[in-house]
Structure formats: structure tokens, C-alpha cells
Amino acid sequence: MDRRDLGKKIEYLKRRTGEPLKLMEVCGTHTAGIYKSGIRDILSPTIRLISGPGCPVCVTPASYIDKCAEYALAPAHTIMCFGDMLKVPGKDRSLSEVRAEGGRAEMIYSPFEVLERAMSEPKRMFIVAAVGFETTVPAYALLLEELIERKIENVKLLTALKSAVPAIGRICEEDDIADGFLCPGHVSVVTGSAVYEPLAARYGKPFVVAGFEAEHLTNAIFELARLSEIARDRRRDGNLRNADKAHGGLVLNLYGEAVSARGNVRAQSAMRKYFEADSVEWRGLGALDASGFYLREEYLRFDAGSRDLAPDDSMPDGCRCADVVMGRVNPVDCPLFGVSCAPGDARGPCMVSAEGACGIVYENMSAHGE
């Protein structure tokens, strides 16, 4: 982008007047990028950024962690998970604490690390804690392909794989949460930007896909502010929900170098081969139709009981993570925030993850006077 052009957009964002706008960044990586860029400091008070449900760890229910803990403590079983998952509190304890009790939970950087582990210890069952959005589902599809190809039978997946798109739809149903959405960048690489068209058509709100650097974010927030005003006027004119043409131009892809309209078709077909969509429980949002990816029947021998998790929307007393992921409250409005919940000793999942809104706000708080 032209530096002068960027400069003008920064000026606009600093000085914008008029009706207040609430813009939601769905994805935790965007939340982190926004704080890193310092862009919140320069925004006019009429533009408020709110964080959404876009951290897979934050929306994984406590019962899932408990199930992982059970496996970690079972004889000849090992849980393989990403680092963030170790610290998420279950009902009583985190996997990190389970590990201190002698449970076997190993941190991985890539799901493919399980292949060699499994081959080197064929008598041990390795349970992969498969948590993530569309971004990571294709990797698990490729892992299954390898397991089948190499005839490895001592690996199973405990899946908490979710589609971010229905969650955005759920938030759209509550009209006053956000005026526009900064769509998850990595998810969109897989899904394509066209998946937001039906949402734009139905709710008459803008969806902007963007990258993560300061320039990307500045541009995206500028465009979202502009489109949100247009969309709001259109909704007031009574065009809402009555015609497809009303949403024309409300989906904008600014991340063309990585995201196409149709997305990564090969990744999508790999996903479809091994996984099917069904209802799944989101911490905070409840069960959402067709928002979970489960192993198809013919691959169930690789499943570690992902469909049998107890329905569970439990939260620690007073914890407002559920409202935080919906964008209903700011992290600082939670009574536990910074009092009995902090990154070193988290009560709720949003404080744990590097992409959780509470953790990010806590880490950045004093520099921003929030």
C-alpha cells in the first residue's frame, strides 16, 4: 500500500466522528496483532474494537480437558497436545497439573510428531488432542492419511475441531454486538472469503478478510468502518434481509495474497474425506449446529470418544469467559479479571491462551490505561 494512502487512513481513524461503531475481530491472532501494532491507541473514541470467539482453546469445554486428563493418567496412554492446552483449566485441574501427578501429556509443535512417537512405542496409545478451527483440520486429515498409509494403529484423535463460520453467524443473531467483522485470516485461507457472503446477505453487515501486520490491520479497520456506515444506512432504509442486492460489496477480501474466494479446495476435500460436520458444544456459545468436525464412520477406529463428551457449559464461579467470547463484555468487566484470574494462575480459558482475549488484554493493560 502507498504510505501516503496509509497515512490518510490513519488520520481518518484518528479523527472519525459520528455514530459509534463496534467492530469485532473474530480471531485471537488479530487481537494480538492489534495490540502489538498499537493501533488501539490512535483510534477515535467512536470506533470500538471488540474481541470474538476466535481462539479454539477458549471455546473448548472443560469436559474435554477432563477427558484428556483421564487419558493422560490411564496406563500406557499419552496425550499429545499443543502448549496452550496444557494450561487450560478443566473442572478441577489442568493437564499441566495432571502431568505433575505423573500423567503423560507431551507438548507438540506439529501433529505429525505423533507418527514417530507412535512407531517407537507401539504398545502405548497416543491420543492427539485435536483442537482447532478450519485452519488446523486439514493437518489432521493429512495425519490420518499417514496413519493409514503407515498402518499405525496406536494413535487416536480426541477432536474438538470447530468451524468458525457458524460461530460468527451466532453472534450476528444478536444485533447489537457488532456492526462489522474482521474475519479470521488463517481460517479464510482454507474456507475462502465467499463463505461470508450468506452471512452478509442475511444480516446486512460487512465482513473484511485481512492479514496480521500493522498495515493490514489499519487498512482493514478503515474499510470496516466505511462499510459499516454504508451497511447501517442500508439496514435503516429497510433493505435488511429482503434482497440479496442489499449486501452487494459487504464482503471484502484484503488478504488476496493468501485468501481466494473459494479457498484452498484441496484442503477442503481432504477435510471432507475424513470429517463430517455436526453439532458441537462451544464454551460460552452452547451447542451450534454443523459447527463441529467429527471423524466419519469409516474412520471411527481413530476416534478417542469425541462424540461422547458430557455436554458441559460449566465455568468457574464468577467467570465471564462465556460473555467475553461472545463480545458481550470486555475482559476487564469480568469480576475475576486481574483479581483471581491472571495469566500465571488462570481461572477461565480466555486468560490462558496466547490468543485469548483476556490474556492479551491483561498483558497489554497498563500501557493502554484500560
Binding site: I10, A354, S366, A367
Partner: protein, 345 residues
């Protein structure tokens, strides 16, 4: 059996004939010097009584043992010697303890020992005492077993009049970094994840760079090597110990393009990545330009630059480390929190 396929067994740690062979053929061969060769229980060191001794100790557990730009042996000397240098000491002597895992190839061990000896020679230090133990392999099978851990201690003599300390940063000082951030960490992570790229560890002795500052009359208030935890963590420690705030400028932070791209893909931040051949010097603002020029004339300081300044403690957040961002906002820089990163040093 071919020489290079020989592996470490428990017998090498039992103190008998195999131990003696290992001492003679590997350690003695490379580390030989007048003090070590006496083979006493302790080393008696020549010492100029006027200078105060400075002692530092460190442990090295990096995996892989050998990486682009270095190995655990070179790293153990660099890490220990650099710590002494940061105190304003002239490094003199090193001791080292080797913990070998069964299954380690003796050829690998010898490469590490040779590299350690060469690094020590280049740094002007003598390895005067050592120990070796053999333990069962604790490594996960996918890491290949046969690991090697090193503990090292160093002794140096404090330079006359030098008193750099992490509690000496003063408002009005400039923060100078000796070069690009994140190389070592990105190199180790790449190796561990099987990612092929050209990123090499910056593992190096910083003596030339520290000498250039201290020999030329720069009033160095603080020196710190920017190792584990990265620049963000080091500056938070200094801010707290000196009771000041620090303000960095994002556009001035030097990062190699390849490392920046790697960090972008991996979601890592060079501010929190470990280095093994980078330091910061905090000096009076009036001397900053000269300090940068002096550092740039050395191999380990070629990309030195001023990256920020020291300010009075702020009212709201006494020892804040903050960074002016490219879009004109402010970002808080915290110390690195928690785990999640592999062992890199």
C-alpha cells in the same frame, strides 16, 4: 567396529579403563594445557591478587547438539564467557561438567569437545577442570537418544574501574543493541521442526565488542547478553533493577529478513527470542553514536544501533517497558511469560 560408530556406555562413566581412555583420547587431546594436564583434584590458578575475581555458571541442554552456526560445546563457552564479559570482567578460566547419555556417538562427543576447545582458545580462556558422568538415556525416542548436557563455570578478573550492572541504567541513557535479534532461537526451532532455511545461530564470543566499548572510554552503565527470554525479558529485568522505564522504537529493532519471515509464519516475536551472540549496552545518550560506531567496527557488532532510551519511572506503571509502534501507537513489552518454547541453550 568402525571408529566413528563407537558409542558411550555406562563403562565410560565408571571410572575404570574406559573412562581413562575417554579422558585421554577425547578430553585430554583437545583441552590439554599446563593446569589441566596435572590431573589433580582441583586446579591451582595463577592470580593477580589486585583484581577481583568474577564467577559465573551456566548449564547447556540445547537440542539438537549440533546446529547451523555452532554446537553445544561452542555454546557452553560463549554463554559462560559472555556472562563474565557483561560484568566487565576479563575471562580467564573455565570448568566444565559433561553429562553424557548412553548411546551418544563418541565421534559426536569429540566434535563438540574440539569445538569447545577452539572457542575457548579464541576467547583467550583456559579450561582448567572438568568432570564426566554417564546417565541412562532420558530422551524421547523421537529425539534419537544419546544426548549430551554441559555445565560450565567461568572465572574472570574484573577490569579496573568497570562497574556495569543491571541496576545502573539512568534516565537519559540510550539503549544500544549489537545486532539482529532472534537468529539462534529461529535456527534451533527450524532444526527441531525439520524446516529447511538458511538461518544460522549467532552463537559467538562478544569479547571484541565489549573490549571496544570499555577500552575506548565509553561509560557503559549496563551490559547484558540478550539470551533466553529475549530483549523484552532482559529490558524488563533492567527496568525493575534500575527503577526506570524503557521506551523502544519499533522501526529501529534490527531483525534479519529471513528470521522475520520465519517468525511471521510461526507466530513468534523476535523480541522474546533467545540469542547467543547479541548484547545490549546502555550508555549515556551523548556517547551513544560513538558507542554504535565502535561496536560496528567489530565482527559481533556489525549491525549495532540505538533502539531506545531510558526514562524516569512513570507514575502509572513504574518500570514499564514500552515500544512506539510503526503506526504511532504504544505497545507494552512484558517479560516473557510461561513455557511453550523448546530448550534452546
Amino acid at each position: 567396529m568402525k571408529e566413528n560408530a563407537k558409542k558411550i556406555t555406562q563403562a565410560h562413566g565408571a571410572g575404570g579403563r574406559d573412562s581413562a581412555e575417554l579422558m585421554r583420547d577425547v578430553f585430554g587431546k583437545h583441552f590439554s594445557n599446563n593446569i589441566l594436564d596435572k590431573l589433580e583434584d582441583g586446579a591451582v590458578l595463577p592470580w593477580n591478587v589486585a583484581a577481583r575475581p568474577v564467577v559465573s555458571t551456566d548449564s547447556f541442554v540445547v537440542k539438537p547438539i549440533e546446529f547451523r552456526g555452532g554446537d553445544i560445546g561452542k555454546l557452553s563457552v560463549c554463554g559462560t564467557v559472555n556472562d563474565l564479559l557483561m560484568m566487565g570482567a576479563i575471562p580467564k578460566y573455565l570448568t566444565c561438567g559433561f553429562v553424557l547419555e548412553e548411546g551418544l556417538e563418541i565421534a559426536t562427543l569429540e566434535r563438540v569437545v574440539a569445538s569447545m576447545a577452539a572457542t575457548a582458545r579464541a576467547a583467550g580462556v583456559l579450561i582448567v577442570a572438568g568432570d564426566t558422568k554417564v546417565i541412562e538415556s532420558s530422551a524421547k525416542a523421537n529425539e534419537g537418544g544419546g544426548g549430551l548436557l554441559i555445565g560450565a563455570s567461568g572465572i574472570g578478573s574484573l577490569r579496573d574501574g568497570a562497574t556495569p550492572s543491571a541496576s545502573n541504567a539512568r534516565p537519559g541513557d540510550a539503549v544500544v543493541v549489537s545486532g539482529n535479534l532472534g537468529d539462534h532461537h529461529a535456527c534451533i526451532l527450524s532444526a527441531r521442526m525439520g524446516i529447511e532455511n538458511d538461518i544460522a545461530s549467532d552463537c559467538a564470543i562478544l569479547r571484541e565488542t565489549t573490549d571496544s566499548l570499555l577500552d575506548n572510554g565509553i561509560d557503559v552503565h549496563v551490559m547484558r547478553d540478550v539470551t533466553r527470554g529475549g530483549l523484552g525479558t532482559v529490558l524488563n529485568e533492567i527496568a525493575a533493577l534500575s527503577d526506570v522505564t524503557v521506551e523502544l522504537s519499533e522501526i529501529d529493532i534490527p531483525v534479519n529478513a529471513g528470521v522475520a519471515a520465519f517468525c511471521g509464519v510461526m507466530g513468534l516475536d523476535p523480541l522474546y527470542m533467545g540469542n547467543e551472540g547479541k548484547m545490549i549496552a546502555i550508555v549515556p545518550k551523548e556517547q551513544a553514536a560513538r558507542a554504535v560506531n565502535l561496536m560496528r567496527a567489530t565482527d559481533t557488532g556489525r549491525n549495532a544501533r540505538v533502539i531506545g532510551e531510558i526514562l524516569l519511572p512513570s507514575e502509572r506503571d513504574r518500570n514499564l517497558v514500552a515500544m512506539k509502534t510503526k503506526v504511532g501507537g504504544t505497545r507494552r513489552i512484558n517479560a516473557l511469560f510461561g513455557e511453550g518454547l523448546p530448550r534452546i541453550c
